[in-house]
């Protein structure tokens, strides 16, 4: 059975396949890439029953139009944009089914900039250097190393039974609103010593405007000059996502997913992980104000955001390697583990299974897993 899921009827301005990025090859100069808004990507994946880091579509400004080649479980998260299934509006931040033959049309973003279309089983593209993320500049990863084009066919990965644990009813009221004025929290460092006290004060007490020269590599901000205490060149070093580097002109640049592995400008501060989605969703001419917090405060804020993710999706990712039970009703099932071993499940039975890497085969021989089918997982 084919796993062709969608045919691209219109790709949107910039739509790429992204997951949580490629960390392992940075020592060879390979950028991390990955989703710009990791909260939205993770939420969408959990909603459709995937592990949070599964590959999905990231669209920019406006979404694609897709023809469903088979019935797909889908969730659209991130930027607010009209979603239409055969012309009827569908809410975001909720999972729904796109039946075979239906057309899913995503419009222009009205709040935020980047949206995510997550598909049950993930988007099946080859893993390149440990990730399915597209790195456009070098043309590898994702769908043939490039943005989507009209006529592309996207395949769905095999659903991974038990990737997520249902904790609660999903509540879309927790979906973020991005707005146009962003208060972004930072931790000072690693090179805040390379700036005068006045420079640090300027960064934390001024309003900056997002320049149109902002992309997946970095966000250029325009505003009061941040003063260096000495040279604006440092011995080049590694930069994490969210690093706020300040070149000689004193205008900050927030480094994002496609940043180079190393850079030679001092980094005055780093945007905290919980606020990175605000930068990822900021549009040109939006305003940004920075506020400093400690690392411990940043960790606390991130845990609060994880609680929001859980309340929003109702699902938590199951830790890999844990055991869980599968309950089936009505039909016979086979569970296939990652080593290809089969476990037959007679109707109305419950079996304990060992790891999350399982697929389910129905009695008709097709691989299928749907959270609504009555295949339930419980601790």
């Amino acid at each position: 059975m084919t796993r062709d899921a969608f045919k691209v009827e219109s790709p949107g301005p910039l739509t790429t396949v992204q997951d949580l990025g490629r960390y392992v090859y940075q020592r060879f100069g390979v950028p991390v890439s990955g989703a710009m808004d990791r909260f939205a990507l993770r939420a969408g994946n959990l909603l459709v029953g995937n592990r949070a880091g599964a590959a999905a579509l990231e669209f920019t400004l406006a979404g694609p139009s897709l023809l469903a080649l088979r019935t797909c479980r889908v969730a659209v998260t991130g930027a607010e944009a009209p979603v239409e299934l055969d012309g009827a509006p569908v809410p975001q931040w909720q999972a729904f089914e796109a039946p075979e033959g239906s057309t899913l049309k995503l419009g222009a973003a009205t709040d935020g900039l980047r949206g995510y279309l997550c598909l049950g089983g993930g988007i099946d593209v080859p893993s390149v250097l440990g990730s399915r993320s597209t790195y456009l500049k070098s043309g590898f990863g994702g769908h043939e190393g490039r943005a989507l084009r009209e006529g592309d066919v996207l395949r769905a990965g095999r659903p991974q039974l038990g990737s997520v644990v249902k904790q609660d009813e999903p509540d879309p009221a927790y979906a973020p609103y991005y707005g146009i004025e962003h208060e972004v929290r930072v931790v000072l460092g690693p090179q805040h010593d390379a700036f005068t006290d006045e420079g640090k004060f300027t960064l934390l007490n001024s309003l900056y405007t997002v320049s149109p020269q902002s992309d997946r590599v970095g966000y250029r901000l325009v505003g009061p000059t941040v003063e260096h205490s000495g040279s604006s060149d440092i011995v080049s070093d590694g930069a994490p996502m969210g690093a706020v580097q300040v070149p000689g002109d004193g205008q900050p640049i927030v480094l994002m997913a496609d940043r180079g592995v190393t850079g030679g400008y001092p980094k005055i501060a780093t945007v905290i992980s919980a606020d990175l989605p605000l930068i990822a969703q900021a549009r040109p001419d939006d305003s940004v104000r920075f506020r400093a917090v400690t690392v411990e405060e940043a960790e606390e804020i991130r845990w609060e955001q994880e609680a929001v993710l859980l309340a929003l999706t109702g699902f938590a990712e199951r830790p890999s390697g844990s055991s869980y039970s599968v309950t089936v009703g009505g039909a016979a099932y086979e569970v296939v583990d990652s080593n290809g071993r089969h476990l037959s499940l007679p109707p109305d039975s419950t079996r304990q299974v060992e790891s999350a890497a399982h697929a389910v085969r129905t009695s008709t021989g097709e691989f299928e897993f749907d959270l609504e089918l009555g295949l339930r997982t419980s601790e």
Partner: protein, 247 residues
């Protein structure tokens, strides 16, 4: 010179920097690579990436699996272990030979470099092939090595107007740096030669010819026939890079 004790620097809630010094030297850089390798081997809970650079290592972690305090403690105990290791255990880097056809169409700026430094073209080749160049770090683009150790007699300014496209494998000089363009790209370095080796290929394992912490020795090729011979082997996947152990 490295600091007496490495410094830990804040880099948000998903990364921490271990800084060993503020200079470009083999000693400082050696400490960076020793920690980077130890951190990768140790598989610290929650650590997802390590970026070694000239004088520091950026350690990235999943803040849902660990905290800055825990990562810092794990790194401190690795540093402690490393400080107890005898010196000669730490230096086990390999030297990768990079064959280069100097001058002609392959190195259109070699005459300029010779003239600028008041030496002959032959001397440019000799001076460029003499040193063992340390790969201090990789960055800028996949497979791009930052090499140290260029002879002072080869220092040449960049072009005022960069070329629109430089072929992959081009060997160039920019001020006191020398390097190789892994893929065709625009650039302003003075080109003195070209290597038939492929520095980066995402379909290959490992993808990069060089690793941070390696050393490079440039070896001169006689003529285009020799260059093309190696290029053919590289293309068919038969070429095995020449390496030697460094004392």
């Amino acid at each position: 010179m490295p600091y007496p004790v490495p410094r830990f620097l804040n880099a948000g809630d998903e990364a921490i920097v271990v800084e060993f010094g503020n200079d470009i030297s083999l000693e400082t850089n050696g400490q960076v690579h020793a920690l980077a390798e130890a951190a990768e081997d140790a598989v610290i809970e929650g650590v997802i990436g390590v970026v070694p650079s000239y004088r520091s290592a950026l350690v990235q972690y999943d803040s849902m699996r660990t905290t800055q305090t825990e990562v810092r403690e794990a790194l401190e105990s690795l540093l402690e272990e490393l400080s107890r290791q005898p010196e000669d255990d730490k230096e086990r880097s390999s030297v990768v030979h990079v064959p280069v056809l100097y001058g002609g169409d392959f190195g259109p700026d070699i005459d300029f470099v010779a003239e600028h430094n008041g030496i002959s073209v032959e001397e440019v080749v000799t001076l460029h092939t003499e040193p063992l160049y340390p790969v201090y770090m990789m960055g800028f683009s996949p497979g791009f090595p930052y090499l140290g150790g260029l002879s002072e007699r080869l220092v040449t300014p960049r072009m005022q107007t960069p070329r629109v496209e430089i072929p992959a494998g081009s060997v160039g000089i920019a001020e006191a740096q020398t390097g190789v363009y892994p893929v065709a790209s625009p650039g302003g370095w003075r080109l003195i030669g070209r290597t038939p080796l492929s520095f980066f290929d995402h379909k290959r394992t490992p993808p990069s010819l060089l690793d941070a912490g390696d050393f490079v020795r440039f070896t001169p090729l006689q003529d285009e026939a020799e260059y093309e011979g190696i290029a053919e082997q590289v293309k068919s996947g038969e070429y095995a890079p020449v390496t030697e152990a460094r004392e």
